[in-house]
Subunit: 344 residues, 4 copies
C-alpha cells in the first residue's frame, strides 16, 4: 500500500499514519521530497481496508499495491491452467465450443439439439434446468427433470454438459448430473454459493457479473479456489453500459486482460453478450480472434417457439455457418476445433 500525503502535510500527521500502519503490522518505508511525502506499507493484509488510512488527516491518496487475490493470479501460477473434463481439455490449443438451448424444454428439443451440435463439432451441451429470470412470471425451468434430459441427450452424442446451479441447496443435485457447474452472472457475488462449489472437485464455469470489474471477477474466482477447487473457468458475457441497442456490451478486451492477470481459461458467450441473433456470429468470430479458449452459444431447433431467449438463439443452419467460420479463424491464429463428424 502506498500512502501519499498532501503537499505540506504536518510532520505530526505523517507520524500518526506511520504509527497506525505499524499497528496494523505493515513494514513501513518513507520517501520525502521537497514538497511531498510518500510512505510505502509493505505486507500482505487482504483483510485491510485502505480507506482507513485514506480518511486520516494529511493524507491525499492511498493505493493498494498487491492484488487482493492470490490463487487466481498469474503471479502465483505462471503456466495456463488446463481443465480436463472427461478428456475434453479447456485452456490449451483446442478451442472448445459449448452449445445448446437456453433452457431444456423437453426430450425432443434437447435430443435434436445434442445431435446437431455434436455433429458440427461442439464438445459441450449447454441447457438450463434452473433458470434465473428477471420476472417471476417467466418460465423457471424444468428442475431435476431438465438435468436428466440434458445428461441423457449429451451421453447419446458424446458430449459433456454444463448447466447452471442457482443456490446452495441445489449444488448436490446439479453436481450429480452435470460435468461442469455454471455460476450465472447474477450470482457472481453469491458468496455462499461460491464457497459451496469450492468444496467440490467438479469444474466451475464462472460468468462475469454485468457490473463486475475484472478485479471483482477474479476475487469471486478466488472464493472457489481458496476452498480447494482449482478447476475454475471464467466466462465473459457482456457488461452493462449506457448503450442499450445491444442487451449488454460484450467486453472482448477482457480476454487479453484476463490472460495477462490470471492463469485460468476464459470462454466468451456472444449470445448473452449481444442478445440479438444477427450479432452472434460476428461476435463469436471476434471472440475467437481475440484469443478466447472457447465460446458458449445458444442454439435451438425452433428459436421462434423457445421458452426463453429464443431471439438470441441460433437456428441449426446458422450454427453450421458459425462453426465453419470460427474454424477458419481458429486456424488463422493457430488453434484447432475438434472435427465435425457430420461435415467430414
Amino acid at each position: 500500500m502506498i500512502v501519499v500525503f498532501r503537499p505540506g502535510a504536518e510532520e505530526s500527521r505523517i507520524q500518526d499514519v506511520i504509527e497506525r500502519l505499524n499497528e496494523y503490522g505493515f513494514d513501513v518505508h518513507r520517501s520525502s521530497g521537497v514538497n511531498q511525502t510518500v510512505v510505502g506499507a509493505i505486507g500482505v493484509k487482504p483483510e485491510f481496508d485502505p480507506r482507513h488510512i485514506r480518511v486520516m488527516e494529511g493524507v491525499a491518496e492511498v493505493y493498494r499495491v498487491t492484488e487482493q487475490y492470490k490463487f487466481a493470479s498469474r503471479s502465483w501460477k505462471k503456466e495456463n491452467t488446463v481443465i480436463d473434463v472427461g478428456g475434453v481439455r479447456i485452456g490449451n490449443e483446442e478451442l472448445v465450443v459449448m452449445a445448446g438451448p437456453c433452457s431444456v424444454e423437453d426430450e425432443r428439443q434437447i435430443e435434436d439439439t445434442a445431435a446437431h451440435v455434436s455433429a458440427c463439432g461442439a464438445a459441450f451441451l449447454r441447457g438450463g434446468a434452473f433458470k434465473p429470470r428477471t420476472s417471476p412470471y417467466s418460465f423457471q425451468g424444468l428442475g431435476e427433470e431438465g438435468l436428466k434430459l440434458l445428461r441423457a441427450a449429451a451421453d447419446r452424442h458424446g458430449l459433456k454438459t454444463v448447466t447452471e446451479v442457482m443456490e446452495v441447496g441445489q449444488v448436490e443435485l446439479v453436481a450429480r448430473y452435470a460435468d461442469v457447474l455454471q455460476i450465472g452472472a447474477r450470482n457472481m457475488q453469491n458468496f455462499p454459493l461460491l464457497k459451496e462449489v469450492g468444496k467440490l472437485r467438479k469444474p466451475v464455469f464462472l460468468k462475469r457479473g454485468p457490473s463486475a470489474t475484472t478485479d471483482e471477477w477474479l476475487m469471486s474466482a478466488e472464493y472457489v479456489l481458496s476452498e480447494g477447487n482449482p478447476h475454475v473457468m471464467l466466462c465473459e458475457r457482456g457488461i452493462r453500459t449506457f448503450e442499450t441497442y445491444t442487451r449488454n456490451t460484450l467486453d472482448l478486451s477482457a480476454v487479453p486482460v484476463i490472460k495477462k492477470r490470471s492463469h485460468l481459461p476464459i470462454i466468451v458467450d456472444p449470445s448473452h453478450g449481444t442478445g440479438i441473433r444477427g450479432k452472434v456470429i460476428p461476435m463469436a468470430r471476434a471472440a475467437v480472434a481475440a484469443g478466447a479458449d472457447g465460446i458458449m452459444v445458444e442454439v435451438h431447433p425452433n428459436p421462434d417457439m423457445a421458452k426463453s431467449d429464443g431471439p438470441q438463439s441460433l437456428y441449426f443452419e446458422q450454427f453450421v455457418d458459425l462453426m465453419a467460420q470460427i474454424r477458419l479463424i481458429a486456424q488463422a491464429i493457430g488453434r484447432v476445433i475438434r472435427d465435425a463428424p457430420a461435415l467430414a
Copy 2:
C-alpha cells in the same frame, strides 16, 4: 406491445407477424399510414419475450407497453404502502432513521451504538451478522451470535432491527431474531432467496443492485410480493458508473421515480452510496430533501478499528450532527423525525 414495421415492408411480412401475435393470444390492432404500418398487440402476457417479434422480417422495432410487474406498480395500488414494524411506521409522514455498524463485532460495540443512536432519535438498529464480502479473506460476520447481540442491544434501547440474510438456508434463522430482513445489493436478483422471503410475513428491505434499472428493481420486489408478502421497502444505495472517486454514484432521482411508479416506501443509504465518511452527511440531507421515507447510515463507536466499512462509518458526534441537520430539512418539507431523548 407495439410492432413498428420498416417503411415499405411487404404485406406478407405484416400478415406473418399478425398471425404470430394471434397465436400468442394477443388482441391485434393495425394502423397503416402512407409509408409505414404499426400494429398494437393488447393483452398481458408477462412470459412473452418481445424479441420474438423483433427478429421477424419486416419489423423495425417492438415496444413493450405494459409494465412487467403488477403488485409493485402504482397503477395497481394508488395509495402509499405504510409498513408497520411493531409500531414504527415506514412510508408515512415520519422519516425513519436506521443506524448502526456495518457488522456486529462484539457486545460492547453494538450496545454502545444502540444506546447512542436511540438517544439521537433513530428508530432502527442496523448491523450485519452474515456479511457478503468481495474477498474471501475479509471478515465474514459473527453469524447467529451476531443476530443475538443485535437483538438484545436493540431491545434494551427500544429499537427495531434490520439485518441481512444472504441465502435461502439462513432465512428461518435470521427471521427468528430480526424485525426486518435485508436483501443486499448483490442479492437483488437472487431469485430463490426472494421467493423464500416472499413466503414470510416479515418486512423485507430490498437494496437496489449496483447495475439494476428501476424496472429490474421493481421486478425483484414483484418476486417477493407475488409470493404473498406485501411488506417490501426499497433501498437506493448507489449504482455503478464510470465515476470512481466515490465508491458508487448515489442515484437520488430514484426517489421521485420510485414514488411515481410504485406505492412502496423508499429508503436511501448514503453510506454505501458514497463510501466516504465526509460525503455521508451532505448526501443524507439531500436524500431527505428529495423525499425519501427514511435513511440508513453506518455509525460505529470507533470507525478506525471497525472490521468492515470503517471509512464510511460516522463517528458518534457526527451522527449527532447528522440528526440535527436532517431534522431541520425534514421539517422544511413537512416530515417529522422521532424525538431524541438524549437531546430533549
Copy 3:
C-alpha cells in the same frame, strides 16, 4: 508517481526503471520489502504519461500521485472562490438561482419569463441563443437576435444573464451581450473554446460532460484558469449511466467531492439532470441540501409549446413552489436566497 514492481522482479529491471525516471527528471526514492520493491518518483511533470513506466518489464502498477491540475485545486487555493457578477456573488452564503427557458424564442416569451423569475427571487436569467442539438433538424436558436432579447429582458428586471457559447468564432459576440458565458456539456473538452474564454475576464460557467470524471472536469477548468481567467464556476448536470428512465443520472455527490478538491463554486442543473419536469423540484431541493452554491432551472411561460426542452421546463406556478421549497431548505442549512419582491 509510485512504481510498484512485481514480486520477485529482477534487479536489472528495477534499475532500468530508475534510470528512465532519472532521465525524465524525477527525484527517485526506493523502498524494498522482502518480496516487493516500490519506487517513488517525486516531481511535478504534468506532461508525463505514467503509462510509459507501466509498460516496462517487471512493473506491476504505476500510480500518479500529484493531481494534474494546479490552479483548480483546493491545495493551491484554500479559501472558496467567490465570483462577483455585477454585485451578485456566487460561492458565498447566498444561494443563487438561475432560471429561464431552454432557448430564447421571442420577445414576449423572454420578457414574461424574466418578469416572473425576477419576482420570485432568481438572480440570473438563462436562455440559449446558440443551441447544440443532437439533430440537425431541431431548432438551432435565434443567434445574435436571441442574445439581444435576453440582455434587454434581463436589464428590465434587474437580472444578470448566462448563455451558451458554442465555438471560438462566437466568443467575442456572446461576450458582448452576456454576463456569464456557458460552456455546454458537450463542449467540456472543446479545448480551443476553453482557451478562448480563458483569455477573457468574464465569468465562465463550465458544465460537466456527460461522461467526464471529476478529474477531467477540473482539468477542463484548468484550461480556462491557466489562460488567466480565474472566474470559473462548475455545473453538475447529470452523467450518462445505464439507467435510462431519467435522461441523465444527476450525480449530487459531485457537490461535496468538488467542494473538497477545488475552491471553485458549484451549481446544479436538475432540469437537464433528470429531463422530466416532475423530478426537477425534488432534485433541486436535494441539490440545495447537498450544499450547492446555486441551481439552474428551466422555466417557460408555455412549456407545451416550447421549441426545445419543454418537457423538462417548469410552469410558472411550479417555479413559485420550487422557490418556496428551496428557500426553506436553504435556511435549514444556513444559506439565504435573495428576497422575492412579488411574494414579499
Copy 4:
C-alpha cells in the same frame, strides 16, 4: 410515434392527446383494448420532442417510431457506401489499414513511420498536428508544420493521410493538406464543426464519442451528410464504462450494429479502444473478425519517447506481426489487405 395510455385513462385525457397530436400535424390512429388504449401518430417530424406528449395526463409511455436520421440510415440507402480516396476504396472487400504515430513530432519520426507502415501494407498514414489533450500542460501538436510533414512523408511512400481537425477555424487549413479529416471523439457533438466539414467534399472520419449511443453517433453523421457531404466513415474507438483497467471498453458489437442500421463504412481503432499496447493486436484481430472495414492503429519508431500515447503505440516489429495476423483473419472471412512490398 406511439402513445400508450395508462390502464383506465379517462376518455377526456385521450381526446386531449389526440387533439394535440393533430395540432402537431400527425396522422393519428387509435387502438382501444379492454383495459388500455394505444394511439399511433404517423408522420416524420424530426423537430418534435416526444416528451411533450409523455408528460400529459393519462399517458403511460411514448415511443418514437421513426429513426431521427435519414441520410445515414440503411433504409434510405440499401447498398454499402464505398468511399474512394485517390484510388483507395473504403467499404468494399478491401480491408484498409491506417497507421502512424499519435502526434507528428518531427520529420525523421514521421518519415520512418511512413516507410515502415507502407512497406507492411498500410494504405493510410495517420498522425495528429492539432491534438486535443485532457491537460493544458500536455504537448498540443506541431500545427501546420505537422500537416506539412505528414503530407510529405505520405507522398514519398504512396500513402493517403488522415488527421484531426479540432475547430471550425482550422478546417480550411487541414483540408488543404489532408486526404481525410478526422473529427475526434470529444468533438463528435461539436455541431458547428460537423456543419463546416459537411460543406466540403473531402471524406470525414467520425469517431464515436466516449458516451455516445449508436443513435447519437449516426445523428452526428447526419449533420455532415445533411450539409451535402456524403463521404462519411465511422470509427469505433471505445466507450466509457465502469471498467477502468482498460482506458476504454472497445464496443466491437458496434460493427454489426452499424452495418445493419447504416450504409456507411466502419473502422475500428483498437489503440484508443484499449489504451494498452499489449491489448492492441488481439483486439485488432477481433475487429477484423467482427467485420470492420478497416482498422486504425498507432505505431511509433520509439514509443518510449513518444510525446503522446506512447504506451499504446506499437513498436515497428509489433506492427509487422499485427499485419501478418490480421491478413490471415481477413482471408478467413473473405476480405483482402493490400500487398506488403517489404514482405513480398
